[in-house]
Amino acid sequence: MSTGFIAILIVVILAVVVVQIGKISDLAAKIRGEEEVAQQANDRTAVWMVGFMVLFLIGTIWSAVYYKDVMLGYGPHGAASAHGSEIDGMFNATLAVTFIVFFITHVLLFWYSYKYRSREGNKAQFIAHNNTIELVWTVIPAIVLTFLVVKGLVAWNNIMPDVSEEDEYLEIEATGYQFAWDIRYPGPDGKLGTKDFRNINPATNPLGMDWADDKAMDDIILGGSDKIVLPVDTMVRVRITAKDVLHNFYLPHFRVKMDAIPGLPTYFIFRPIKTTEEYRQELRNYPEWKLPADETDPESLPRWKEFNYELACAELCGSGHYSMRRIVEVVSREEYNDWLETQNSTYMTTVRGTDDDPRKGQLLDVEIKERALELKVDFQNALDSEKAEDKTILLKHVFYNTGSAALSDLSKYELDNLANILNANSNVTVELAGHTDSQGDDDTNMELSQTRAQNVMNYLTNKGLDASRLRYTGYGETSPIGDNETEDGRELNRRTELRIISQ
């Protein structure tokens, strides 16, 4: 309360002082003669006008020189994209023109205010208009502006058009939401899969991907804190979308800015021309970039070493608007390809086989291929091993129709591969073992596992393998490898195995 009281007191005292200044100046004027005082005040003010003009113009020029390093296209504030220098050039052309106008008009305005101040016996001139001079100062700005408009629009129409069919470009997608960005890469097919906001599930599908779309299968959605990695000297088309409210995809160093709008995808196309490392090397020449990055810690790395390109939001989107930062890293094309190799398809890592997977219960070509290699390796390892427990391998891709012993069509890939392997290793004899989980009647389980194992053997003999090299056994629920109390464990227990008997 006391601070409030003091504040009010200060305001009141100030008000009283102000009123007194006013009164005194009025009184002084009365004593010394109002006309004379008015004349003196007029002269004094006129001098101040000139003084202000000089200080103001010096101030503007000084500040421009002092802050030259933040001006577009100067010093460390160069554009990191191909089109950026066009924007910077346009900015500087406009700066040159406007500064001349600014300087001349200010000199005239304040100089005339001084020169033509009221003086005893002076008389103003009657100049109502002058058509010639008015025509001149209408036409000159018109010409200058035409120059700026044409230069500006040429640049604009270079920068803004969408990609054409013959362009080679990398398309990525940025999705803004309160208060972060999701970044999606198209994966090896170079195409972004479709998405729909109705599919969004914040936990499992934050972008609302349509996983049934083949183009979506190899898409890579970056984690929340991952850097956005871009290859240098490559045309990048950013597809810009938003989930909830307006955002704006803003890359200050690349001179890129475009609103992100729910329901209306936008784009911006640019070509990074300097890798992060190259930009850092340019920055190290400037004294302010040699200062420690952490002002409180003189031992910290210099600022230039810590430099990163940044993505920001430039359209008010709510209370966290100021915090939508992501780091952008531009690297050489080789480094980019290496980085891309290490990125996993979001579908394969987080969606495949879950309830959200539209291809659940199907085998993908890539999975068949990978499994073939894996089976070969597993079989070889089993042959090479001395230990008895290593002689058993799991036939992962052997499936049965639900509740029956009949092999499902998908099993043919695994069993064809197995037949080939056994043909290549003709001295090996094996046992095919069926297992179930603990649910249901023991005898039924035993019978089912036996019939299933037999069906596997029949498939292999049909493929031309000698029946004497094969035998089958049903173990029912007797040798579980997982916990029968859980669904995951039971799934592990329902299996078909192969055991090498002799080699």
């Binding site: 100046s25 003010t45 969004i200 409210v245 729910p262």
Partner: protein, 614 residues
């Protein structure tokens, strides 16, 4: 000087040549406005209504400016404790265990939003145009009052109600609207998107709808009065530039505010009735909305179809006032009177076909932007003509450098500085980088904020004697001018550099971005300058209210030796403005130092061979 003022026996001239409308035959004893309430509160007299607009505007200006000081403290001194503001701002100051108080981000955005809304609509539209259109249109045209004094009264009270609703919204537990003064959906349409988008936004819409009604009632009145109630001899080409500016401003307002209202109505329906004018494909607060097919960009078109003319609604009255004040105190005719009128008309016309230059980066087709760039930069031509004409008006004059004149000259400086940065932003190529950065903040604050305020101050100091029969104190006025002139440049000039560095506007904190966080000292400097300028404005407020009762008295009717008709009315204002006949007009408003006469008022008949128009 006193002898010049009596060169014309104004009483005689008005009585001999004036126009008798028998006004006072019908209004014996001024029955309508005799009581306190009908005279000062529900007044239908344009001079009282003008002062109501002005004082309400001043109160709102203090509130709006104080808000800017609070958020400037956050930007300039983010580390300092704001706990001392807790008694005023309550829960919006979050005090941590160490007693350090910080401004809540939601409330920072609410302050920014309210600052913009209040200053643009309540202060620079109602406070500026409402005040001076009301005061000067009848007085300078030789009219007894507005065409409809009743609608005029309603205009003020709708504005007043708009203010009450907005003021109430400041005290909501969820806070006032916080989505920016432009109120772009979906942020403004969905209460889930932000706390301020709940009741705060509802009240914001109600308030501004009332405000639109106020502007329309006022505007229709101004237009009708200018077209129908000019005194005998007051042809359009003899009207002072103030009237031209107010007239065109009213036309722009009447044409553009309904479009804003239509946008508001659609937004209300999206908020309350489940329509989807501005909504599509939205997933928010864990839910996909069943609202598809609309476009947020449509709202932006509707908003800026008003929003851009709005900046001319703000600046044209200031231009008119400055033209008048410069001519009177230079003792010269305004240079290029007709060019000034044509440039007002050109600016007004162009203001309707440039709105999308606010939307270059909003996802509109880039091809369309070509047209908006061209039209936008064409506006620079009439604007440049006006600047050159003002400078030439000063040239060869005999300048009284008193406070109104200083503010008029200051206006020209601000208009040049702020207008030239518009040449950058109007060029879509540069706007790619500059859009929504501090460069934009610097540009519009200088060109339509500070400049409009300078025009307003010039008008207040100049016509204060007409409003209150007394003068404001000159010494304080000059301190006010220099403090504001230097201070305003100190606030906004550095923002250009911050903007060039790419720093976005509407950021609560710059700390998380390496590119934006290295301007702490500059931000401190700006905040200190803002506090100083705010203090200097309080000086003006004190001067204003003190002088109403204690200022130096106006002893002659025409203290500035001006030519226009408002200075022929009695010092003690009366209902109907002129006690007897209305003066008739014989010449334009700018016969200063035309011949051996220092000035020739408009009611003085032409001498033989004399030309009355230019």
């Amino acid at each position: 000087m006193a002898d010049i003022a009596t060169t014309y026996n104004e009483e005689t001239l008005v009585q001999e040549l004036g126009y008798d409308d028998h006004f006072h035959d019908h209004h014996h004893g001024d029955k309508y406005q005799s009581g306190f309430i009908s005279h000062y509160i529900f007044s239908m007299d344009h001079k009282i209504i003008a002062r109501q607009f002005l004082i309400t505007g001043i109160i709102w200006a203090i509130i709006g400016a104080a808000m800017s000081i609070v958020f400037r403290l956050q930007l300039g001194f983010p580390e300092e404790s704001l706990a001392w503001l807790k008694p005023v701002l309550g829960k919006w100051i979050v005090v941590d265990a160490n007693g350090i108080g910080t401004l809540a981000p939601e409330f920072y955005y609410a302050l920014v939003t309210m600052h913009g809304t209040i200053l643009v609509f309540f202060v620079l539209t109602a406070g500026l145009s409402g005040t001076f259109s009301n005061l000067l249109i009848p007085l300078q045209l030789g009219a007894r009052d507005m065409a409809s004094p009743f609608l005029n009264m309603l205009s003020y009270w709708f504005f007043f109600m708009a203010g009450i609703v907005m003021f109430y919204s400041l005290f909501l537990s969820t806070g006032p609207f916080s989505g920016g003064w432009t109120a772009y959906p979906p942020l403004s349409a969905l209460p889930q998107a932000s706390t301020g988008s709940g009741t705060g936004m509802t009240l914001w819409l109600v308030s501004l709808t009332l405000f639109v009604v106020s502007v329309l009632l006022g505007g229709i009145n101004y237009i009708t009065t200018v077209l129908n109630l000019r005194t005998r001899g007051m042809s359009l080409w003899r009207m002072p530039l103030t009237i031209w500016a107010f007239f065109v401003t009213a036309v722009i307002g009447v044409l553009s505010f309904p479009v804003l209202a239509s946008g508001f109505f659609m937004l209300m329906m999206d908020r309350g009735l489940g329509t989807s004018f501005f909504l599509s494909d939205i997933f928010i607060a864990g839910q996909a909305l069943d609202r598809v097919g609309g476009s947020p960009v449509l709202y932006q078109h509707l908003f800026w179809f008003l929003g851009h003319p709005e900046v001319y609604i703000i600046i044209l009255p200031a231009m008119g006032i400055v033209s008048e004040v410069l001519a009177v105190h230079s003792r010269k005719p305004i240079f290029g009177y007709r060019a000034m009128v044509y440039s007002i008309l050109a600016i007004a016309f162009l203001s309707f076909i440039v709105w999308a230059h606010h939307m270059f980066m909003s996802g509109v087709n880039p091809f369309i932007s070509n047209f908006f760039v061209i039209f936008t930069l064409i506006i620079a031509v009439p604007s440049a003509v006006k600047v050159f004409n003002w400078i030439t008006t000063v040239y060869g004059g005999n300048l009284r450098l008193n406070t109104p004149m200083l503010f008029a000259i200051g206006f020209v400086s601000m208009f040049i500085s702020g207008g030239l940065t518009g040449v950058f932003l109007g060029n879509s190529t540069i706007d790619i980088q500059m859009h929504d950065t501090y460069f934009v903040v610097a540009h519009f604050h200088i060109v339509m904020g500070v400049a409009a305020f300078f025009g307003m101050f010039a008008g207040i100091y100049h016509w204060y004697p007409k409003m209150y029969g007394r003068f404001m104190n000159e010494t304080l006025g000059k301190i006010h001018f220099w403090g504001t002139m230097i201070g305003a440049y100190a606030i906004f000039w550095p923002m250009h550099y911050i903007g060039m560095a790419g720093v976005p506007r509407r950021y609560y904190s710059f700390e998380s971005f390496d590119a934006f966080k290295h301007f702490a000292e500059m931000n401190q400097f700006i905040t200190v300058a803002a506090i100083v300028v705010f203090a200097v404005q309080l000086l003006f407020v004190i001067n204003f209210f003190y002088s109403i009762w204690n200022g130096k008295k106006m002893k002659t009717k025409n203290p500035w030796q001006a030519t226009t008709l408002e200075w022929t009315t009695p010092i003690e204002p009366i209902h109907g403005n002129w006690p007897g006949k209305i003066p008739s007009v014989h010449r334009w408003a700018y016969d200063y130092n035309k011949d051996e006469r220092e000035f020739v008022p408009q009611y003085v008949p032409l001498e033989e061979g004399e030309v009355g128009d230019h």
